[in-house]
């Protein structure tokens, strides 16, 4: 195991300069993406897999025939203009889509090869394994910072032997521990927006999900907080699968191993291109992807 990792590492170090020569204006992007790629080539098991997923709101066909593979331990970014179905697709991945009145879907979402939409599936267990961080920070207002982190334990009625250790570990992983360790008893709403979002990440981590879905987690935050959350994402990606929706293409380039470009040409949103991030940003195969990532439209 360690041998293969070393080999992968050496392969990466040789690959990096090659990537650099290929790029012109997006040189820094490619370097960052290559660093991210080092993670992606760690040995992986079967992670999350979407197969021919469609989604509807009433009669409105929102996304059509989306198939994507999210190997364990990778970060996948979903990019595309507003209304292309990024968030809808994300919400089908942990069965949050069904809470919208009139929602319908087709296709399969496989977690370790098992369809999460199969009859008899315990949906609450699915959402424990596939956590979610929302666009707007939403700490529970009636709980303190500490209680917010452990809220999932209480909500899902899990047993934990040492709650304080878990709280510290989750806040540490979310990059928030040093800022809040002396004020764990203050309400969650007393934190700044960026801190609240990291608190929400810590809250998601406490139930030990295998996959974390992030729906534009930085769109309401300032650049400093965004940077901190991106560092958190890179840290988390060592142990879990992350799927992030973002409007910020630099962010996609910085944090993700793979990128999917989604687009709706008037009809339902579809996947135009899915490839390793550096390829999407340096030599996209589809003209529409190229136009989008270079800022010519969207």
């Amino acid at each position: 195991m360690s041998n293969t990792e070393k080999e992968d590492g050496s392969m990466n170090s040789t690959a990096t300069p090659a990537t650099g020569t290929r790029t012109t204006s997006l040189g820094n992007v490619a370097t960052a993406s290559a660093a991210a790629r080092a993670r992606s080539e760690q040995p992986v098991g079967s992670g999350l897999e979407a197969r021919n997923v469609h989604a509807w709101f009433g009669k409105y066909h929102a996304i059509s025939d989306m198939s994507l593979d999210f190997p364990t331990g990778t970060v996948t970014a979903l990019i595309g203009p507003s209304g292309c179905g990024k968030s809808t697709f994300l919400r089908t991945l942990n069965r949050m889509h069904e809470f919208i009145p009139g929602a319908a879907m087709a296709g399969e979402v496989l977690l370790h090869g098992k369809d999460i939409y199969a009859p008899g599936t315990d949906v609450t267990k699915i959402r424990l394994k596939i956590g979610m961080v929302f666009q707007k920070p939403n700490p529970f207002p009636s709980m303190t910072i500490g209680e917010n982190v452990l809220a999932g334990i209480k909500l899902a009625q899990l047993k934990v032997t040492n709650k304080n250790d878990l709280m510290e570990e989750c806040l540490e992983r979310a990059g928030l521990w040093n800022e809040v360790k002396d004020r764990l008893n203050q309400p969650g709403g007393s934190l700044s927006g960026g801190q609240q979002q990291r608190l929400c990440i810590a809250r998601s981590l406490a139930v030990r999900p295998e996959v974390l879905l992030m729906d534009e987690p930085c769109s309401a935050l300032d650049p400093g907080s965004t940077l901190k959350i991106e560092e958190t994402i890179s840290e988390l990606a060592k142990t879990m699968t992350i799927i992030i929706v973002t409007h910020n293409m630099q962010q996609a380039a910085r944090v993700s191993d793979y990128t999917a470009f989604l687009l709706s040409d008037g009809g339902p949103g579809q996947i135009v291109e899915f490839a390793p991030t550096r390829e999407i940003f340096t030599r996209p195969k589809d003209k529409r992807t190229e136009n989008y990532v270079t800022g010519r439209f969207g």
Partner: protein
């Protein structure tokens, strides 16, 4: 580096002393002018005085700001004057009620007022005997039983409408709204005809509480629904995304987030029923002696006490009625103040 001179904070946007003097002058002038009009024309009395004062004051203030800042400012002053008139017209009757009840309601209150009942003395006896012990106990029983019945039913109804959104939600919402418009005497008659008349059961405090519950449930349900609607949908999604069931999300996230508002809903419900008299006449039967058992026998209550004292006719009985009104008013006032306090406390953004 230049030395920093001490700067004291000022508020340049505030009216100056001169503005205040001019405004006071206008108000005094308007009052004098309207007084002269009343004295020298056919108009007489306090109401025309107030009306003329309002007309003069608003007109002259409008002209003043019109001269200073133009036509739009004059319109602004007229609308501001109209708003002040509105608040004055609203506060006047409230202040008058408070003053009347307080000044007349204290005459009958003496040291034994809360510890004796009216079983030994008629309402026309002197004011140093008898009291409202029986009525206080009755009202407390009525409210406690009505609370036990209405709060769970009202809040569960609200949860059905906001969380489950199950079949018939629109119809239920409509019916709850229609129910809150039911005249209170109809609630009393309903309990009387359905549960008392012809069944062999007599009057009791419990029957009264049932009638009051019919009035209280819609109030609690509607207020609770409004409060639950204010809980952001994000929070529900966050709870569900953490692997919670809907019930756990409601119990641990939604209800705590709406807690202070739900307390307000309950208190508004109590304030709604505390002063009801009509439904109690058919259901509790009313009593002058202390009855500790709400399930058996006639029971007194403060509204019944007031009603009985008022129809007695003697001056002593009238004083007792005012005292009852005073106690009831204080209780309702305290409840509303408590509701305001609890709904303000611990607001976390």
């Amino acid at each position: 580096m230049t030395p920093v001179t001490a700067v004291s904070p000022i508020k340049p946007w505030r009216p100056t002393r001169r503005d205040y003097i001019v405004q006071c002058g206008i108000l005094v002038g308007s009052f004098l002018a309207s007084y002269l009009v009343i004295e020298n024309t056919g108009f007489a009395g306090r109401l025309p005085l107030v009306i003329f004062f309002g007309i003069f004051a608003i007109t002259s203030l409008a002209i003043l700001s019109g001269m200073k800042r133009g036509k739009e400012a004059a319109k602004d002053a007229v609308m501001a004057g109209a708003a002040y008139t509105g608040i004055f017209a609203l506060l006047l009757p409230v202040a008058s009620i408070l003053w009347t009840v307080t000044s007349r309601g204290t005459a009958a209150i003496y040291s034994g007022f809360f510890t004796t009942d009216m079983s030994q003395d008629p309402f026309s006896s002197t004011l140093d005997v008898g009291g409202i012990k029986h009525a206080l106990i009755g009202t407390i029983w009525l409210i406690v039983i009505a609370l036990i019945i209405s709060v769970p039913l009202g809040i569960l109804t609200a949860l059905y409408l906001t969380e489950i959104k199950g079949p018939g939600s629109a119809l239920i919402r409509f019916l709850v709204q229609a129910m809150s418009g039911i005249p209170s005497i109809v609630a009393g008659l309903f309990i009387y005809s359905a549960l008392i008349s012809g069944t062999g059961r007599g009057f009791s405090g419990f029957m009264g509480a049932l009638a009051l519950s019919i009035l209280m449930i819609p109030t609690v349900a509607r207020t609770a629904e409004e409060v639950l609607k204010l809980v952001p949908p994000d929070l529900r999604e966050a709870g569900l995304a953490l692997g919670a069931t809907q019930w756990k999300t409601v119990a641990l996230v939604v209800i705590p987030a709406a807690k202070s508002g739900l307390v307000t809903a309950v208190i508004l419900g109590v304030a709604r029923i505390a002063g009801e008299t009509a439904p109690l006449l058919f259901t509790t039967g009313g009593a002058d002696d202390t009855n500790l058992n709400p399930f058996d026998g006639n029971m007194g209550s403060i509204p019944f006490y007031i009603w009985k004292a008022l129809i007695d006719g003697s001056p002593e009985a009238a004083s007792r009625a005012w005292a009852g009104i005073f106690i009831l008013m204080l209780a309702v006032l305290a409840l509303f103040a408590l509701a305001r306090f609890l709904s303000r406390a611990k607001i976390v953004k």
